[in-house]
């Protein structure tokens, strides 16, 4: 059930009616019931996977919670009698008990995710290795597992929660139904965002009273998401697919246009989907974390990654990057290399090692193919380079005397946008790394004039192209206006006639210009007269 389908709208409407008819304290149960209904309707028996994650998460965190509670009680009871060392020892014992539980839970859940998502990738690579090294054609068969809906998202979210409980960031949730809802909450199950328990739980279980203002804001947010997804992203997709499928024949400038459109498409699609998630949640009075902060206005790649898919970045930062950089082993390694290789290298080692791991993992997160790994590592290379080259930049900017000027900011935004757009070609090239490199090279070197006829051949006729470009322009205007604060709230403050007029126009734009349904070919209807 896609978030843009009528079925989802009907499903949400049903959930809303029952939700607000229920007494406040039972409302989270309505959400839980509908979340499981959503999951079962969409992928049937695979609900077992999310159940396993939920149960293991619940049991693990409850055990850890128990250990910490006993530790607290023991320490409080024996406050006077215990020496500092004894206290330390006891704490260490508790910690290692909790750590064992956490590690087991992480192994189980990431193990399941790993097998389902990466087993075939691993098998393909083993086959390849055997072929090249031993010339063996005894290929291992693929497993072709079915990926349960949203498994990457709910696994990351639940494991973040397990780690947080382990570090004592907050206490374990005692109500299993609340935890089950946190894992399976239907508006964010397909594509996130990856919410943190302490954030999401504030509103998810509250059963907020109906608030017409935030309800309207939610509806506007959904409308905007539908516009981005249906009018812009799905329309541009026709051209992007057309150009990429014909990348050997299409001229470079057509590919450059596809690279640009793909950036718009993926932003419209992903952030539009998140808009729908946030909007739908608002209808239930639930606040979901923002996942995008106008990323195309970033002035550096590092900044871009703080503004695009924010919750994934935060997850990697908190649970992988940071723990690696401050882990004992890495620090020892760093110390040793300071002594043996050099101060500068040793000092940088922890951060670059952690960055490498994060970007390798981020690459794999996006897909079990080498082109995604290459994509992730290219991000790493660019980020490392820009850190190392900072003194050079500073000097250059000093010479140009434009640091902080409008022109400099524009240049930085432009540069960052195109770096990210070209990196995205790896995501676009289903044919692998080689294909991505050909497209990038061609789009930069093979310059040719664009004609409307050829653009139409690749998938967008003049009218569709016009609507697509106007859609991009509207997204740009929206982003610029967003700097002044929430647009949805601003609309609510308009005089009623203007507000209703605007709403009607926006709805009609989505209904008419959305790329959905079967399309219409008058000829089909004419030839079928008898």
């Amino acid at each position: 059930m896609s978030y843009t389908s009528l079925a989802f709208a009907a499903f949400t409407l049903g959930a809303l009616i029952i939700y607000y008819l229920m007494p406040s304290r039972f409302r989270y149960l309505v959400l839980l019931a509908f979340s499981y209904a959503f999951y079962i309707i969409t992928c049937g028996k695979y609900v077992i996977y999310i159940l396993v994650t939920t149960c293991s998460t619940y049991i693990a965190t409850r055990f850890m919670g128990g250990i910490y509670r006993r530790q607290k009680e023991y320490l409080a009871e024996n406050k006077e009698t215990l020496t500092r060392d004894e206290k330390k020892q006891y704490k260490e014992k508790s910690k290692s008990g909790a750590r064992r539980i956490m590690v087991l839970t992480l192994l189980l859940n990431f193990g399941v995710l790993g097998v389902l998502k990466y087993a075939d990738f691993t098998i393909a690579n083993i086959n390849m290795l055997r072929l090249t090294l031993f010339n063996s054609t005894g290929f291992l068969g693929f497993l072709n597992p079915v990926l349960p809906l949203g498994i990457s998202f709910y696994t990351f979210q639940s494991m973040g929660y397990v780690i947080d409980v382990y570090f004592g960031r907050y206490e374990a949730e005692k109500n299993p139904f609340k935890l089950a809802l946190y894992v399976s909450y239907f508006p964010q199950i397909i594509q996130g965002p990856i919410s943190r328990f302490n954030e999401l739980s504030k509103t998810l279980f509250a059963g907020a009273a109906f608030n017409s203002e935030s309800f309207c804001i939610g509806l506007y947010r959904i409308l905007w998401g539908l516009f981005k997804k249906l009018v812009v992203a799905d329309r541009l997709a026709a051209y992007v697919d057309g150009a990429v499928n014909h990348y050997t024949e299409a001229g470079g400038t057509y590919l450059l246009l596809a690279v640009f459109f793909y950036s718009m498409q993926i932003y419209g699609d992903f952030s539009g989907g998140i808009d729908i998630t946030i909007g739908v949640s608002k209808l239930f009075g639930v606040s979901v974390a923002e996942n995008f902060d106008r990323p195309f206005f970033s002035k550096s790649v590092a900044e871009y990654w703080r503004r695009w898919h924010i919750t994934l970045g935060t997850w990697f930062k908190d649970y992988i990057f940071y723990p690696i950089t401050v882990s004992k082993r890495v620090l020892e390694l760093s110390k040793k290399s300071r002594e043996k290789i050099g101060e500068g290298f040793g000092k940088r080692l922890p951060i670059y090692l952690a960055m490498f791991t994060v970007w390798f993992a981020t690459g794999l997160w996006h897909g079990a193919e080498w082109r995604y790994v290459v994509w992730g590592l290219l991000n790493f290379v660019i980020l490392t380079f820009s850190t190392e080259a900072k003194p050079l930049y500073d000097r250059l900017n000093g010479l140009l005397k434009w640091e902080g000027s409008f022109a400099h900011r524009c240049f930085a935004v432009f540069r960052t946008f195109w770096i990210m757009s070209f990196l995205r070609v790896f995501d676009l090239s289903s044919g692998g790394v080689k294909m991505a490199l050909v497209i990038i090279k061609k789009s930069l070197t093979d310059i040719c004039p664009l004609t409307l006829e050829n653009i139409e051949l690749l998938g967008l006729d003049r009218q569709e192209l016009t609507v697509g470009c106007i859609g991009i322009l509207i997204m740009l205007i929206y982003s610029l206006r967003q700097r002044k604060g929430s647009i949805e709230e601003a609309i609510l403050k308009l005089p009623i006639a203007a507000r209703w007029g605007f709403t009607a126009l926006a709805c009609m734009a989505v209904v008419i210009f959305g790329s959905y349904g079967m399309g219409y070919n008058a000829r089909d209807f004419i030839y079928l007269q008898f």
């Binding site: 009528l6 009609m508 209904v511 008419i512 210009f513 079967m518 209807f525």
Partner: protein, 352 residues
């Protein structure tokens, strides 16, 4: 709760806008493709018809209700469409019953051999999208729509046709709410004679059985007519196509006999009616032109009067309406016949 009136107003506005868009975006079938108007015009033109003709496209090319009224005093309507399946005929009949109850239903059985594999979206749309009774319409949609179709699009047509924004013409706006009638009580007048014609020899068939789904709905039509006290005639309109076989006739005669109704295949009687395959059809002996339609309609009227004698309505208002309609029809028919004669001369010249 004090915002409730606003919510209601917003919902009303939304519905109003949707209806407006529906009417603009739905294809009009006025200047071309007129067969798409048959279902819509039923609710405008039909004046309590005593006889309802159901079936596929041969029906609305060979039966002219106005001419039937002229010849035999029977009032009727063609509720047939291109590739109309038996289940669509069933739901159209149910829909008809919500408007007025006919005395006789005459069902063309040509599509009994066609199962679901023959349906295509455009013909589904033409039959169903203008149906008015929501229950019958839902039944028609659920029984007809392919997996690739979005059932909601039949009730909110703009969801299906929104991408016509590129193709919208002046007539889409002009006829959004008051489209004229282009059929004559469901009859599509055509005066042409084909330049060439191929009549194919019958081929033997392997499997003389009907499509199960089609037969199921034939039984449901029989049942419905029985329950409603409506007489039912199963008929095969006169054609010269090779897709009909005597095995079908035998099966239908058996079915009709066991249900106490009549079945007649008019094809072998074409000669008796004076129908000439070369000049009374617009194609290879399947769909009739005006000349053929008048010949068949006259014969059919006699057949109905002899076998059913549907007592003619004495309602003066209704009589007046029908004679007015007949006046308009005769004017058009005169032109149509003149055009046919011209075509006939051209054909006769060519034949010599």
């Amino acid at each position: 709760m004090k915002k409730l009136p606003r919510f209601i107003a917003a919902a009303a506005l939304a519905i109003l806008l949707t209806v407006l868009l529906d009417h603009i975006f739905i294809p009009k079938y006025i200047s071309e493709n007129q067969d798409g108007s048959i279902t819509r015009e039923f609710y405008i033109q039909a004046d309590r018809p005593e006889v309802i003709f159901l079936g596929a496209s041969t029906v609305h090319y060979c039966i002219s209700p106005d001419y039937l009224y002229k010849c035999s005093g029977i009032t009727s309507y063609d509720r047939s469409n291109a590739s109309q399946t038996l289940w669509q005929s069933y739901y159209l009949l149910k829909d008809t019953l919500t408007v007025s109850k006919p005395k006789l239903v005459a069902l063309d059985v040509s599509f009994l051999k066609n199962g679901e594999e023959f349906i295509e979206e455009p013909s589904n749309r033409k039959v169903i999208e203008h149906m008015r009774d929501p229950v019958s319409k839902l039944g028609a949609v659920l029984s007809s729509a392919g997996d690739f179709e979005q059932p909601a699009g039949y009730f909110i047509p703009v969801l299906r046709y929104h991408s016509r924004w590129k193709d919208l013409k002046e007539e889409d706006f002009r006829y959004a709410f008051n489209a004229p009638c282009v059929t004559y009580d469901g009859y599509l007048m055509d005066s042409s004679i084909p330049e060439e014609q191929h009549i194919y020899e019958p081929e033997p068939i392997d499997d003389p059985s009907f499509a199960p789904k089609a037969e199921e709905y034939l039984d449901r039509i029989i049942e419905l007519c029985k329950n409603e006290g409506i007489e039912l005639l199963l008929m095969k309109t006169p054609t010269f196509v090779n897709s009909w076989h005597t095995e079908y006739d035998e099966a239908l005669e058996k079915k009709a006999g066991s249900n106490g109704i009549r079945y007649i295949n008019f094809s072998p009687l074409a000669d008796e009616m004076g129908i000439r395959v070369r000049t009374d059809y617009i194609d290879d002996g399947e769909h009739m032109n005006i000349s053929g339609a008048h010949k068949f309609t006259e014969y059919l009227g006699e057949y109905i009067n002899n076998n059913y004698a549907p007592a003619s309505d004495e309602d003066e208002v209704l009589k007046k309406k029908w004679s007015e309609k007949l006046g308009a029809y005769e004017k058009a028919a005169a032109e149509g016949m003149a055009a046919w004669e011209k075509a006939y001369e051209k054909y006769a010249d060519g034949a010599e």
